[in-house]
């Protein structure tokens, strides 16, 4: 059993690195664009706000798998040639952006109105209000749901196995089929996914502690 594991370790490692790489790209992309769409949801002009609301609710209302299939098979059908990896990162980022923008909106919305009013009263401009009053407080509240979203995105990257991207799950599937040891190899994959996500949660909890204001 240990032999089998060692023989296939390099394949598992290759799958793991693909999972880590896609997850890192997707989390970064979704966080940046989600921040902007979240802010647009809060402060944007009405038409933009409506547009983004429709986007967010649509993406959150359809299964991720359908989204992945539409990007992966749909864009080439429209004549756009993109690599499998780019399509994968794009589909997951579209999904992640919707979730992060809700996180941003929720965190800012949970800051009492009095804070904004007080900031206005002492004459801070819009940007200064965000920079010095709203963001520092919203950050601490955004981190726990943001960590959850990051964990969801790592888990979501496993769906890429269904469009033949050789991530951790797909390489495990191939090894399990070849060696006929599904329990062993799926168990290993489960432990690996767990370690990634649990350490993400731990880091999130630490960072949150660091930014929390005594309120």
């Amino acid at each position: 059993m240990l032999d089998l594991l060692l023989q296939n370790a390099h394949l598992i490692w290759r799958g793991l690195s693909v999972t880590l790489e896609t997850s890192a790209w997707v989390i970064a992309a979704a966080s940046v664009s989600g921040l902007f769409t979240g802010l647009a949801l809060l402060y944007g002009p009405l038409p933009l706000r409506l547009l983004i609301r429709v986007y967010v609710d649509t993406v959150r209302g359809i299964p991720l798998l359908v989204l992945i299939f539409s990007v992966f098979y749909g864009l080439p059908a429209m004549g756009m040639q993109i690599s499998a990896f780019v399509a994968a990162v794009l589909a997951l980022s579209v999904f992640g952006t919707a979730h992060v923008s809700e996180v941003v909106r929720g965190a800012v919305d949970s800051i009492p109105d009095g804070q904004t009013e007080a900031a206005k009263a002492i004459g801070l401009t819009f940007y200064k209000r965000l920079r010095y009053v709203i963001f520092p407080q919203a950050l601490a509240r955004a981190i726990p749901p943001w960590t959850n979203t990051a964990v969801e995105l790592v888990k979501a990257s496993s769906l890429l196995a269904l469009v033949s991207i050789i991530d951790l799950l797909y390489s495990t599937e191939q090894i399990a089929a070849r060696t006929r040891e599904p329990l062993l190899f799926y168990g290993v994959a489960a432990i690996l996914y767990f370690s990634i996500n649990y350490s993400l949660s731990l880091v999130g909890a630490r960072v949150e502690k660091r930014f929390r204001y005594s309120s």
Binding site: T58, P63, V66, S70, R180, Y198
Partner: protein
């Protein structure tokens, strides 16, 4: 098909979730540790992995009674059980202490306090999070396509291979999911209005 799968898995998941939540709130140390480990572990691994594990793995250790539909239901139940135990645990812990004490004061046995005070209150507190979980479970039934359970996404894949009309098919499927989710959300909101606690 998708709805039926979600409903069945949710029912089983609810039972698992309530038991695990009980174990975590009222259980002794070892039981508590087991239930917490189950919840934390399952919540941190992908559903697709659990599906493969149940579908391909359990057959090997002699559980041949599961076909693809039942293995999917089992996998989704295990997955949702972990999320629901978290929901129920939060609900049980937020039943006001005073109510439980009041139950004791009028002479209810611990079991009756549980039956008539804690559990009904828990249900009413968790209803909103329960409906969120149910909607995301419904979306997760799309993963059943991975082991060829004939539900909506699988249907779309079959039509695609036959007709190659990818955009039309996925747009239609997306709209169908979207409408179902909104109808579900609306129905659950009605239920919440009727039963949820005003807090």
């Amino acid at each position: 098909m998708g709805l039926g799968l979600a409903l069945l898995s949710l029912a089983i998941g609810c039972v698992i979730g309530i038991l695990a939540a009980f174990a975590r709130v009222y259980g002794g140390r070892p039981i508590k540790a087991v239930a917490t480990a189950y919840t934390e572990f399952v919540r941190n691994i992908p559903l697709l992995l659990i599906i493969y594990f149940v579908f391909y793995g359990l057959g090997l250790i002699g559980l041949h009674l599961l076909n693809n539909i039942w293995s999917f239901v089992l996998a989704l139940a295990i997955y949702s059980g972990a999320y629901l135990s978290e929901v129920f645990r939060a609900g049980m812990m937020s039943v006001p202490e005073g109510l439980i004490e009041a139950g004791k004061a009028i002479g209810l046995t611990p079991r009756k306090t549980m039956q008539f005070v804690t559990l009904p209150m828990t249900f009413r507190i968790v209803l909103p999070s329960l409906s969120n979980t149910f909607i995301s479970l419904f979306k997760d039934t799309s993963l059943a396509a991975a082991i060829s359970v004939p539900e909506l996404t699988y249907g779309a894949m079959v039509i695609n291979t036959n007709t190659w009309r990818i955009l039309e098919v996925y747009t239609t499927v997306a709209i169908m999911y979207l409408i179902t989710c909104y109808v579900l959300a609306g129905l659950l909101r009605l239920l919440e209005k009727k039963y949820a606690m005003v807090r």
